[in-house]
Symmetry: C4
Subunit: 501 residues, 4 copies
């Protein structure tokens, strides 16, 4: 159909019902009638744009090629004559104006001095739904917070009087050089928060020698990201395994072909978690989106996370590992290990590494933090002679906000640490500049902390430099005696006299 | 007296004193003069309706047959001619109007996404006294809160890469099939919170294959509940043992006859607890109520809990167990076990199961949570070869708000978990629909959590899937240094500039 | 001088300077010129009344006989002709009016349902300085609060299915019958809070069979208290040992003569603590007071506690015990033991008992709670075969607010428990009626808790009924991550729609 | 150039650019053109005063001789004729007026009854930047707060019935008599907070027999401080080692010559920490300052701490210790030991003592508190027979606010305790009088606490007098269940009726 003259707006507008539904995306017309019931985000959201230009709603939550990939070629109806399409006059909402004013009032980037600052800015300037999707975690978000607090249970035992003029925190991850013992972990749907999406990460990573892990659910397509790479820039790929293994095979082999250096298979998400902040947004019901890969219908009101993830295969099991081994020569890493038992199985299955992770607190709530699991895993592997090993690396992610957190993980046996949300918030708040600033903050903190620890290289970060004895302690303070507390009158300090002011 | 023509309103009104006191209930006249001093809720509340129609006050806190059962037949004076009774124009109070407006403003039921939501709605729309009665617990309510917090001290150790396409959380309890490893535990006085009372539970339970435990102190009569059952629907019975064993015998045997499948004898309530929220309401003093079964006078100002429970027998002891064995062939379960010692005695006494419970925090304050006792009990029984056993099941209740809590209990050895208040609040807030929604939420959470845990059936929930090492820790943080805290200035994040908005 | 005609107001008024200072107390004139520098509360406060009637200021903080006891008889100038004394028109301050209005608005006594309620009422209606004196504790008041919180670290292990129809919580203390396992511990300066002072305790104690410990620093004189006793009412005596042992000898022997049944020697107060709330009140500077027994000058601005206690002997040591044994046949109890080491010494010194106490948190801050020390002490004594013993009783005090606290102490080995402030606040708020109500609350709580514990007598309260494993844990939660906490957005429950109200 | 007639204002004003930059300090003209890029605080701040009188900005953050020492003599252009210099009319800002009013409204000094009070006053009256510099600590200020909280984890085990009439808390530190087991630890830049700077400490120390440790970064010059000493007054010196060892050698030998009794080499600061409060002040950007000793350029926006410390040598190592031994006969103490391993190395290196310190929480965050490290260090040294030793003393600092804290440290093996900020805040708030009051408060608390502990001398403070078992516990309470907490309704106490007031 693509050899005919362009379609016109009115022609498209004639197909605006469930029985015949055409939409325009990026100047091309698609017949999505048969796809309506297959759309992971539900048919309702598509029907809202039936007969119209859907590009703007499509953009932030689909990779550009999602529609061409998922729709049979005969449904690609060809280009539309833009001049004949009624422009949807997009009204600027009050909410949008408020956000724009807040964007203008952001703190100057050099006032941002720690990673928390990015989150504060992002929380303020992001559309409410984007914030809900990014920040949400499962159930009571206990694990989300535990991820942070666990690092507070590890204390330093710094050494003194070592010549620390030169300190070096560079490392290699799966053989790839990295200027930091940190990689950019996969986070999804970057365009919800910034029009350039994950490309912001790519550009900053290139400039500072940091490795980016590309997410299956990135808003930018895999190829767009790779195309934006600087010469020599290296990537990892995060993989959600599709129920249709053929799709997965193509995806993985394409990545390998384009030079990706490690395949991180997510193993903690046979189903995506119930994330209440996200659910309260009722994302799906109004304007949520679709997914690159073919999936299964999900119910409304389950939040964007559930909507975009129905294709993920819950049957994935240890039996599938050899198949992955067959289809790719990339190092394979299992992302989402949470026990020593599974770490051992992973080692014995011949993969090249594991990420001790609870998916940023977004999956099983009251699951333990990666840093806590690290101690258990290292101890169990060491016992069997599996650790240390040149062919098996251990990473952790979740809750990292300071270089000192990273150094604790490394002292306890991690090779590197994944950082997700902080980089995401950095680009939502300031684009590529934000990510660069985040890396710079890490660098400053690494320099200072390594000097203060008396460790000149990451190798000198030995377990004796931390006291992790409280790490496995999960205390919940006994309920308060409210009556006593409400009758007790706290001490106060000396009082000033009435001032003339 | 029932063969004469109906009595008239003025005739009844002539008996409005302590010396001769008639009241109308459900269109019948009763001479309660001699009963005044026996009324568990005190005589004052009855005298308020002397010579009048008491139905509206009677209804929510008595089963329909309470008055006919408790009053000798010669005091049943027969029907009254309704047309001759002066209608009590019930004024709609401001409070009542406010509640009605709040009922109208309730969140739509599909916005309710966790069990806490029901409590929030119930708390807002319930009459103050009903909320006080339902929510109250004993003394400082430490145990009430500990029940919840204890679950936070158990952490998951989830397994990965298992085919979790199909997960099944159905089970059987005392041989009765249940679609959830959860039963509806007994709670009292349901009509205080909803006009249909416990029948809301019955109907929802029928629809979803869940077992309801009928409370001795239910507002709906036992037979009303059984009559409302769907074909094949099964029940358990919660029993407060009466000082008059004959009453208890009849009650139990009637229940067995009507098909009840398990007898849960409450053993942690020789006397009902001092519940301060309830006491502060001075329930008894103004309009509180009576009890189905004959009891003993109690003092005023002790709250509704004490008023309705005076019949309970504090002499109940292990020696009574054989008697129960004799009067019924229903499985007998002891509800309210709190130590390994008593769990062993229970097993050796030949009962079919125990509920590790502290009565929802309503009895002995600073008693431990059921989930904590579970670990102690399972370990002690296992040591003696009593666990696992096909003839002895262990349940826990108290503090459950998430399917994940239930799964923790099952991993640690429980067969099923009792849930009381959440279902109660669900029907107070939304009637039968609320209970159905609650069950649906459980179902969604069970599916997700079992997948994320890597357990396809409840049998696969092994103890190694939880880390309960912190469960027995009862920490109370040392008192704060208030002077230090009030002088310390917390860090703040980067500041936005003044926005134009 | 007492045989002459009464002095006149003008005659007294002529002696209004430091060089010659007369004052009127209870209608008698005293020459206190030489006493000015000896007055424990400083000379300034006396000089304020030089030449005037000082009765009203004298009354609340001195026993009636303080002035006659401390002043040489030749300084007793005889009666004054009341008609000639210029009445000091006492202005009712705004503060006083406010307090009176609050007294009138007190909750009715039957609304007081726990011991905390008394404290709330007392805190509101007491003069600020009285509240400061009573409620204050040393330094950061850590120990004061720890006393309460320690009980929260002891959990119950209740037993079921015991016939608990009859429960009995009466006991005997040093052979004296007590209706409760609780005695009224000594607190000072009762008239600051109620015009009848400690007599309120005496009368309530008589009515309910409770033993009162009379304080050395009571506002009511020892004899006034004993004179107010009912027939057969028994007392203990709390003793601060005077630097002048002769004064102490007389005091003790007088007490024995009047039938006191136990001598509790305070051993944790060689110097009274720095109590900041009290100090901030600058009690001494304006209108603070004196002490029955001769003492030493103290500095200003140290609060009433320091002012009234300068006579206490810091040289008191183990070597003094035999002397006490010689001067009295009353059982001797050491009050203020805080370690196992000293408990052993006490036992071996032949005294009849010890009170494990930190003086209500008013002495050494960050000293441990009595209930914690109890476990250490019982274990150490048991090891040496000193416990249990018919000749040596152990008591604890501090932090008790519930009968359940008392039962925990008894289960752990205490014979009885001292309760101070709650009874003090009870009479400050409601006089004798308050104290009776407090005892009644205890009684109700004892009945309920013993039934729920399955203990019919105090002897059945065995150590296995409590889990005290957390008692010695002194945790201080690690400092909060304020940046994280301020960026984290807590979950919220379902929202109501805008209501029409 | 100093033999010519004085320069004039206009002549100086002609040199107001980066190409030729003269400034006036204390009436002398300096050519700082070549120094601009070397200035540790950056060139911008100097250029602000190019051609003008810079004295007022120079004063608070440089010792008087900083400029003459650092600038080659040929750049000393000689005196200026004051009458020809245009007076900079210093405008009194609103902020300054507000501060002055607050100074006038300070609590009277005798209302200051604990060390916290000084901090509250200082926080209120100090310029914002001074407060930020003094109060700030590194990263999340966890260690800053932990320093205080750690003392709360040590509990007393006081002994009774010892004759404590006479108690003596004097001691000697490195052989120097001290009236308290406390020395004044080094803090920097005192003139930011008080025009007299550290001299306030010197004068108060003289009067009360306390030893002052002089800071390398004091605002007052070393000689000014020594010159202000009373006859016989003794000092210690805190040393930041310069990259140019010659500067350090001269500095140390000069100190020894002037009678300093101990050299405390800071070993925990190869680089000064990132202190966010300080950084947020952007001190450097506008008016921050320089440093006595030659250093290296640092970046802007790093706060005053980084600006003034660039000269510190990060190559300092154990190999340098013999060199120090060679250049001085003062006892050498290593300040900033944080592990047993380094304590052992220190002992074996032949130094005379160590300070267990984390630099007031200003260096490595989540480093442990000195008091916690003390237990580890004493135990390790004791094991090797290194403790106790007459030639090796152990001190701790950080977090001390009460004499009781000091006594805990001494009981656990410390010889004395360093107190920094509290004395600093004392003089910022009240000058020399404040410091004297602080010492007096310590004295009162020492007397009371030693009596209450039953220790007559510091030697009697044995380890058994404290329970430090919780000291190594670093608990972080599990995240709150916010939904539960927000639905739970706390108990309330009895309510007052509406008062007429």
């Amino acid at each position: 159909m693509s050899n005919s003259s362009p379609l016109t707006g009115p022609e498209v507008a004639a197909h605006s019902t469930r029985d015949s539904c055409w939409i325009i995306v990026h100047g091309n017309v698609y017949d999505v009638t048969d796809f309506l019931d297959e759309h992971p985000g539900g048919s309702k959201i598509i029907l809202k744009y039936a007969g119209k230009d859907a590009t703007e709603a499509y953009e932030p939550i689909h990779p550009p090629d999602a529609i061409t990939t998922n729709l049979p070629v005969e449904k690609h109806l060809g280009p539309v004559d833009a001049s004949t399409v009624v422009k949807v006059v997009k009204e600027v909402t009050e909410e949008e104006k408020r956000r724009q004013a807040l964007m203008d009032a952001r703190p100057p980037l050099d006032n941002v001095i720690n990673l928390h600052d990015f989150e504060v800015v992002a929380r303020t300037v992001l559309p409410e739904k984007a914030w809900a999707y990014y920040s949400s975690a499962s159930d009571d978000e206990i694990t989300l917070r535990e991820n942070r607090m666990a690092y507070q249970r590890v204390w330093f035992r710094p050494r003194i009087l070592r010549n620390v003029d030169q300190v070096d925190w560079s490392t290699s991850i799966l053989g790839v050089k990295s200027s930091l013992p940190v990689y950019i972990s996969a986070t999804a749907l970057g365009k919800l928060g910034h029009p350039d999406g994950e490309i912001c990460l790519t550009r900053a990573a290139a400039k500072h020698g940091v490795i980016q892990m590309i997410a299956t659910l990135a808003s930018c397509s895999f190829d767009d990201i790779i195309d934006a790479a600087a010469p020599g820039q290296e990537f990892f790929l995060q993989l959600y395994v599709n129920r249709d293994r053929e799709i997965t095979r193509k995806y993985v082999q394409h990545a390998e072909q384009r030079g990706v250096k490690g395949l991180f298979i997510t193993v903690d998400a046979p189903q995506l978690g119930r994330r209440e902040k996200d659910m309260r947004m009722k994302f799906v019901g109004d304007d949520a989106g679709a997914e690159v890969q073919k999936g299964h219908e999900v119910k409304k009101d389950q939040g964007v996370a559930r909507a975009i993830s129905s294709f993920i295969d819950p049957t994935l099991s240890w039996k599938d590992i050899p198949w992955f081994r067959k289809i790719t020569r990339m190092p394979i890493i299992l992302k989402g290990i949470a026990t020593a038992e599974d770490a051992i199985l992973a080692y014995e299955s011949g993969v090249q590494g594991i990420v001790l992770s609870n998916h940023g607190g977004r999956q099983l709530d009251t699951s333990r933090s990666g840093i806590e699991v690290l101690v258990e895993v290292v101890s169990a592997l060491r016992l069997r002679g599996y650790f240390p090993s040149p062919n098996f690396e251990i990473y952790v992610d979740g809750g990292v906000r300071r270089a000192s957190d990273v150094l604790k993980a490394i002292a306890l046996g991690a090779k590197a640490v994944g950082v997700g949300r902080p980089f995401l918030y950095a680009f939502c708040a300031y684009g590529q500049d934000g990510v660069e600033r985040a890396i710079q903050i890490f660098r400053e903190e690494f320099e200072m902390n390594m000097r203060l620890l008396g460790a000149r290289t990451l190798d000198e970060l030995v377990p004796e430099m931390v006291d992790a004895s409280a790490l496995t302690s999960h205390f919940v303070s006994t309920p308060q005696d409210n009556l006593f507390n409400s009758t007790y009158q706290p001490l106060v300090t000396a009082k000033f006299r009435e001032s003339k002011l």
